[in-house]
């Protein structure tokens, strides 16, 4: 049953299984285990970024395509919701229209970029995606009347998703089920389904062809596989998933702007999540996204405490001051890439072989 859900792609390491179960249980029970709006916000972000990183791994890890346009597709999802909700109104119809249009735009862009540029060498493809993504970001900030420009768009969502909404009269397990919690569970469930769908894709015969192409495209061609077609389909699937991640994030934040969707900083974050977690394994995306978002949100708090605790010692409190959190985040990344060149998942799995 579980093997079927995971498409036969089991974690293959006890430690990895334990960590994944902890992440799953924590996310599933987040509103009850970690009450409070900030922790719920972190949990929602983790869910969305797991999908985003997994969809990027479909390209980078499984197909060997380096694309810098992934945040563009994520942004298209966000702007699809923003423009529809803002233009039509806060109802289900608008949401459906927004999602459908966003998916259509992403699909067309992914096919065009793929067919035009996937036949060229990897570095040129990367450059082309960078150019298209930059052009899109400029467009989003210049078309102020439609996108809200640099300020972005805030909008209301259907009543069910609003904080004032109550699903039950009585609190459940001491927590009243508000529209926020309902939204969280929609984000969580959709993310889980999307992740399982991604697992299905990479473990299908289609996914095996992608892996073969990653290893050697000429051999794959000599077996009769049309590499450009397979790469383009992988790009389209990945773009579609990123778009849906953007939709989920937009529903959660009720705001879409260039900084939260299209910025190059997010592209780098996704890249780091995939690399740190372990390329070519979707579980790596889960760990990468979880660790990254947690560090982004809680490293400062931890450092504040450490700084206070070491207040008597010279230099240490200054080094551990919460303002230095980016320095420590950077050091953590350098160390993790250095010590886990195959990512955390690769490390955990090879640990099993030695034991």
């Amino acid at each position: 049953m579980i093997a079927r859900l995971l498409s036969g792609d089991l974690p293959r390491s006890h430690a990895l299984t334990v960590v994944l179960v902890i992440v799953l249980v924590s996310l599933a029970g987040a509103p009850f285990l970690f009450p409070g709006s900030q922790s719920l916000n972190v949990a929602a972000k983790i869910c969305v970024f797991i999908v985003l990183a997994a969809s990027y791994d479909l390209l980078l890890g499984y197909t060997g395509i380096v694309s810098f346009a992934h945040t563009m597709f994520y942004g298209i999802g966000g702007y699809g919701i923003a423009i529809a909700m803002h233009g039509i109104g806060a109802n289900w119809g608008a949401m459906g229209v927004g999602i459908a249009l966003a998916l259509l735009v992403s699909l067309i862009l992914a096919v065009v970029i793929g067919l035009f540029s996937l036949r060229v060498r990897a570095i040129f493809f990367a450059m082309i995606t960078l150019a298209v993504a930059s052009a899109f970001a400029v467009l989003a900030s210049q078309l102020r009347d439609i996108t809200g420009g640099e300020d972005g768009r805030s909008y209301s969502v259907p009543a069910m998703f609003r904080p004032s909404f109550r699903l039950f009269e009585q609190p459940v397990l001491g927590v009243s089920i508000t529209g926020r919690i309902l939204t969280y569970y929609i984000v969580f469930t959709s993310s889980l389904l999307l992740f399982l769908a991604a697992l299905r894709i990479v473990n299908s015969p289609f996914g095996r062809v992608l892996q073969a192409i990653r290893e050697n495209e000429f051999r794959a061609e000599a077996l009769g596989y049309r590499v450009v077609v397979y790469r383009t389909v992988a790009s389209v699937l990945s773009a579609g998933m990123a778009t849906l991640a953007g939709v989920l994030m937009a529903l959660w934040l009720r705001y879409t702007g260039p900084d939260t969707t299209l910025s190059f900083a997010i592209m780098i974050d996704i890249l780091l999540m995939v690399v740190i977690g372990g390329m070519g394994t979707l579980y790596g995306a889960v760990l990468g996204a979880t660790i990254f978002i947690l560090a982004q949100n809680y490293l400062q708090v931890v450092m504040g405490k450490l700084s206070a605790a070491t207040s008597g010692i010279p230099l240490l409190p200054q080094l551990l001051h919460p303002d230095r959190w980016l320095l420590w985040l950077g050091i953590l990344f350098v160390l993790s890439v250095y010590f886990f060149p195959t990512g955390i998942v690769g490390r955990l799995r090879s640990g099993r072989l030695k034991a």
């Binding site: 095996r208 892996q211 000599a222 596989y225 049309r226």
Partner: protein
């Protein structure tokens, strides 16, 4: 005379600014093993790559069963019934033995009887069926590469130096496997440096030098003519026995 399965006429190939093939004329008849011999750098691998469309012929034509495939794309050439075993194996190391074989099956499923036959030729593959191909030994990788080519019947098998760098016992296994493939009625174009293997398998032979075919004929004729061997290949059988 019946139409040959594969024929190259006046094929020139350039790779970058290097002119590698200088007008190759080669005929592979239906059925049996055609050996493609020649010293290192003579253009044997380039000929196979040009047939597969991995390198584009700049002049001349490649005809498969009467159909011109000179400008066809590699996947189309493969799908028209060619199986190619590149030099240094060309297996997918990250995938399992099974997945490697499934990739080569057009239907996405391996025929059970055919698989049994392949396991009969290469028992090691049955043992390591679910193991990552990268973990196999050199000889086993070569077995997998050949198994992948023959997992479904094809019109023509192009095989590039299957015995290179292998232990004698495995070379014997390879020769036995090709014998059996040949007995099943297959057509094989085999590039080989090992003259003993070539003599054991070949029906017809073509010898290359400097990007051209310099000799073509029956294998037995070349095998019996020490002087010809010496002139074409710079070797004598005596040294190899």
């Amino acid at each position: 005379m019946t139409t040959p399965l594969l024929s190259l006429s006046g094929v020139h190939t350039h790779v970058g600014r290097y002119h590698i093939l200088h007008g190759v004329d080669l005929v592979v008849p239906v059925g049996g093993v055609t050996m493609l011999l020649g010293r290192n750098g003579a253009g044997k691998t380039s000929t196979l790559r040009t047939i597969m469309g991995l390198w584009r012929a700049s002049a001349g034509s490649v005809t498969l069963a009467g159909e011109d495939v000179t400008q066809a794309a590699t996947p189309a050439i493969a799908r028209s019934g060619l199986a190619y075993v590149p030099e240094n194996m060309g297996i997918f190391a990250d995938l399992t033995v099974r997945e490697n074989l499934v990739l080569a099956a057009r239907s996405g499923e391996i025929d059970a009887d055919r698989l049994k036959w392949v396991f009969g030729l290469f028992p090691a593959l049955e043992k390591f069926f679910s193991l990552a191909a990268g973990a196999l030994s050199g000889g086993q990788k070569q077995m997998l590469a050949i198994a992948r080519a023959i997992i479904e019947p094809r019109r023509l098998y192009l095989v590039d130096e299957p015995t290179k760098g292998l232990a004698p016992a495995i070379v014997a296994n390879m020769i036995a496997a090709f014998r059996e493939l040949k007995a099943s009625g297959a057509t094989i174009l085999l590039v080989e440096q090992n003259f003993a293997a070539a003599r054991a398998l070949g029906d017809t032979v073509a010898v290359m030098d400097d990007g051209r075919i310099v000799h073509a004929g029956a294998m037995a004729e070349l095998a019996d003519d020490a002087e010809l061997q010496h002139r074409l290949l710079g070797l004598s059988l005596a040294k190899h026995q």
